[in-house]
């Protein structure tokens, strides 16, 4: 529902959109405009606090892995992976290389389902002028069917390795509770050839979508690994030269309370906004993309535009979708079951911190374990809370170009910009309340 009110006495105009579909979580956006300039863009998060960092206190590492998976239904693997790597790093646990490869395969499954969902059902309708994926399906049946098929394959991978597709249960400190036999993966392997072809088609398709202009500089942050596109391993790097171990997030970044928001905002220690996610990873990690994905990215000619126009994040996401599918195929082709599903380990005290790459960007976990090996403190920094400042910054940059448009069109374009970040404010947003306070200058 959209309403517009223009109180004549104050020369202020308030625009309100009470429902933003196709994002996760609950939040509001307020734009304050003076004399045609956007002087403030605030993304307020009014979703209730969820207290997961307190819920895990007193729990064992394996219990934590199951609990944090409940933070998000779209990216539970990311929460499990950041937690399990944190505990294994802190406790000095070394896993079988075959376990590491299986975890990459599991993470690929999450990227596949999350990216396919966002590209096809949440974001693409914006570019084609449809109010929803349902409306788009009426005219683009084959496109939607392709997206659904790719997404389902990601779900199947998660279910096979994680025990079920939503809130999986098999990840354990030291490995998995159960690992598949090579034959168990045969069915998914057969589907992957077609899915890789479909992902190539996806890259070409999104690269050709009509896209709004935006040209701005942004600080990018992501993991970087010398040999592989980053899922769970690598160092935290930035486009301005940062280089930290995956436990080193607090050295460069800090969370802060922001008025009007139940979510913490993260900024660099010197107060700058930064961007995570597909656009950041493509910008910082393109050399380690799978050859098929690198070739597809080059064919688009949009590698630079991904870094300057967040609307092009759909292209970055599609390239990563192709990467995840192609790597999943390679991982299955080379799969040998580990000697044991998990290695034995001994509980103990210590700091356990790690960052992995959720579909939406860097996800940092930091735990301290007490003498019994139970959690004493926990800090979880999801990617959307880190992206909020960048979202506000981009909104302030982009908004002047649309404020003179009719309200409905201006709102649609601003919502489109927000969706470009694939925000997850539960991890991130069900309703976005758009308010534009306009004061004539």
């Amino acid at each position: 529902m959209t309403t517009a009110a223009r109180p004549p006495a104050t020369d202020e105009r308030t625009y309100r959109t009470t429902y933003l579909s196709r994002v996760e979580g609950e939040g509001s956006l307020t734009l304050r405009v003076q004399g045609g300039d956007v002087v403030e863009a605030r993304l307020g998060i009014f979703e209730a606090p969820r207290y997961f960092e307190r819920l895990v206190v007193g729990r064992t590492p394996d219990e934590v892995i199951d609990i944090v998976a409940r933070i998000c239904g779209i990216c539970p693997i990311a929460y499990q992976m950041s937690a399990v790597h944190a505990f294994e790093s802190g406790l000095g646990i070394v896993v079988d290389p075959a376990i590491r490869r299986l975890r990459r395969l599991l993470y690929a499954g999450e990227w596949i389902q999350s990216h396919a969902l966002h590209i096809y059902l949440l974001h693409a309708p914006d570019f084609l002028g449809y109010p929803s994926a349902l409306a788009m399906a009426a005219d683009h049946r084959d496109v939607v069917a392709r997206g659904l098929a790719i997404k389902k394959l990601g779900n199947e991978l998660i279910a096979m390795l994680g025990g079920r597709s939503v809130h999986p249960v098999s990840v354990r400190v030291g490995g998995f509770s159960k690992v598949p036999r090579p034959a168990d993966l045969a069915g998914i392997r057969r589907e992957l050839d077609r899915a890789v072809e479909q992902a190539v088609e996806t890259v070409d398709w999104v690269a050709g979508l009509p896209t709004p202009e935006l040209d701005r500089a942004m600080l990018f942050v992501a993991l970087r690994h010398p040999d592989e596109y980053p899922y769970s391993d690598g160092r935290i790097v930035s486009s301005d030269g940062l280089d930290l171990p995956p436990s080193g997030w607090p050295e460069a970044f800090a969370e802060e309370h922001v008025e009007g928001s139940n979510a913490l905002h993260a900024r660099t220690r010197d107060g700058r906004a930064y961007l995570l996610g597909p656009a950041a990873r493509i910008t910082l990690d393109a050399p380690t993309l799978h050859p098929l994905a690198a070739e597809a990215l080059a064919r688009t000619g949009l590698a630079d535009a991904i870094g300057t126009n967040v609307h092009r994040s759909i292209v970055a996401r599609a390239v990563e979708l192709l990467h995840a599918l192609a790597e999943a195929r390679d991982l299955i082709d080379g799969y040998r079951a580990p000697a044991a599903p998990r290695v034995a380990w001994t509980p103990g005290p210590g700091r356990c911190a790690w960052a992995t790459e959720a579909p939406r960007g860097l996800l940092f976990h930091d735990y301290t374990l007490d003498e019994r090996g139970r959690v004493a403190t926990a800090t979880i920094v999801p990617p959307t809370s880190q992206n909020q400042a960048a979202i506000e910054q981009d909104l302030a940059t982009f908004a002047p170009a649309v404020l003179e448009l009719p309200h409905a069109e201006a709102t649609r374009r601003l919502e489109m910009l927000i969706r470009a970040y694939d925000p997850c404010i539960s991890c991130a947003t069900h309703f976005l309340d758009l308010r534009i306070d306009r004061t004539e200058g």
């Binding site: 994926a133 659904l148 079920r164």
Partner: protein
């Protein structure tokens, strides 16, 4: 009752570890236990948790879907049974925090399939869906009615004799 041998697909939605959201997971096994082995062999039961449109799109040409889920927005314990086509416009909406609303997914499946999805939605109004297993007393009390509604839909599509002991 005319025997109808159309393949019937039961989609079990919800989350057994979130209280009443696990109603479908509790009811479907009880419903299956009331059906004869002959009938059970004609059923394709998929415990998917979330609705995947592809589970509807690839229904056999003469297939029939029974989507079972917990329902928000109606009196706790109330049994809801309505054609899938009506669900797209009905105000009674199963609520999901992820993906798209169930009614949108069903409509989308119909558009991709090129025809409306034949089937029914069967659900029960929830009382408590917080973390933890086990149903609330009001939904536990309604479970026999939910089981009965599922069995009734199966009987309607597969035909008699279906019940154990008949």
């Amino acid at each position: 009752m005319a025997a109808d041998v159309r393949p019937v697909r039961i989609l079990v939605l919800g989350e057994p570890e979130r209280g009443d959201d696990g109603a479908a997971f509790a009811a479907v096994p009880l419903a299956l236990a009331e059906l004869s082995p002959l009938v059970r062999r004609r059923l394709d039961v998929r415990r998917t948790g979330q609705l995947d449109p592809l589970d509807l799109i690839d229904l056999p040409t003469d297939g029939w879907a029974i989507v079972v889920d917990a329902v928000c927005g109606v009196r706790p314990g109330r049994i809801v049974s309505l054609p899938l086509g009506d669900l797209t416009t009905d105000r009674i909406r199963p609520r999901s925090t992820h993906l798209l609303p169930v009614e949108e997914l069903i409509a989308m499946a119909g558009l991709v399939r090129g025809a409306a999805i034949p089937g029914v939605f069967v659900g029960v109004g929830v009382s408590a869906t917080g973390l933890g297993d086990g149903l609330s007393p009001v939904v536990s009390d309604a479970l026999p009615d939910l089981v009965g509604a599922i069995v009734e839909e199966v009987v309607r599509r597969v035909g008699a004799p279906v019940l154990v002991g008949l």
